[in-house]
């Protein structure tokens, strides 16, 4: 009497897709994280604290970082460090290239307002009418 085989019903030759899905998912996540890191435009700094603000980030903003420097504050527009004199041109060019974008200013809380004022003036001369000041949630 021939014994019944229960394995034949499951198809011995079927390809096991589990490792393939694992590898594909890991690759997708790897490229997503690398892409996000590559497009990172923010600098690490101590932002002013606030208990109120808008949580929604602007879509694809022009990010201007103002950090403490040795002699004068460092201004980093997205990933490029610029001088105060060149900031107006940089803002104008980017606002022209990407119409309707917001300007996000990330300035350190350790700076005096005198270090941020030239940045605001350059933004105004460059065509920005409003800016968004980044703060750190204090609650």
């Amino acid at each position: 009497m021939r014994r019944r085989s229960f394995h034949a019903a499951h198809g011995v030759g079927r390809v096991n897709v589990t490792p393939m899905i694992d590898v594909v998912m890991v690759l997708i996540v790897f490229y997503l994280i690398v892409g996000k890191l590559a497009s990172e435009r923010i600098e690490s700094m101590e932002l002013p604290r606030s208990a109120f603000g808008d949580e929604t980030p602007p879509p694809d903003p022009l990010v201007i970082n103002v950090l403490p420097g040795e002699d004068e504050p460092r201004i980093v527009v997205e990933t490029f460090e610029v001088s105060v004199g060149a900031l107006e041109k940089a803002v104008r060019e980017r606002l022209r290239a990407r119409d309707g974008i917001g300007v996000q200013i990330r300035a350190s809380r350790t700076l005096p307002y005198g270090a941020v004022r030239p940045v605001l003036e350059a933004c105004r001369r460059g065509g920005a009418r409003t800016v968004l000041l980044s703060t750190e949630r204090s609650s």
């Binding site: 589990t18 694992d22 996000k36 300035a107 307002y113 005198g114 968004l132």
Partner: protein, 150 residues
């Protein structure tokens, strides 16, 4: 003796058709790690909107509508006090600390329509940027939408 009973072929078959949890757990963990990593990159930031007015920011823009009341415009001035603390003037307060100014402004704005107010913040260069942001935040929290930075 049921624990020692050998599993029959039907029992083995029944256990084989149970859904495999391994791929689901794998995918869920990978997605979880991705969102955790993304959250740490984005950082907990808030945004305060501020206008960049031309001139002193207190003058009315364009031709005023004769049938409409002009918005109430307030100037807020921050300067560094002799004790190193920031002194704020505006909304009836004179050289007040930031906390006292915010209390005073809250009292004044309570009787007004905040969305119709215009506030222009002017600060000395030596004033800490954090104090300027604190005043901007207090205005926004009271519902004032038109806040300018000079």
């Amino acid at each position: 003796m049921s624990a020692l009973r050998r599993r029959g072929a039907l029992d083995v078959w029944a256990s084989n058709i149970a859904p495999s949890m391994t791929p689901m757990v794998d995918v869920t963990l990978v997605i979880l790690i991705f969102f955790m990593a993304s959250a740490s990159f984005a950082g907990p930031e808030w945004f305060l909107k501020a206008a960049l007015p031309t001139g002193d920011g207190l003058e009315a823009a364009g031709e005023p509508d004769p049938f409409e009341l002009p918005p109430a415009r307030f100037g807020v001035t921050l300067r560094a006090g002799p004790d190193g603390l920031t002194r704020v003037s505006g909304f009836g307060a004179e050289d007040a600390t930031v906390g006292a100014f915010v209390s005073r402004m809250t009292e004044v704005v309570a009787g007004l329509a905040p969305e119709a107010l215009v506030v222009v913040i002017d600060a000395e260069d030596s004033v800490p940027y954090a104090d300027v942001v604190r005043v901007d935040e207090a205005c926004a929290e009271l519902g004032i939408e038109k806040i300018g930075l000079r």
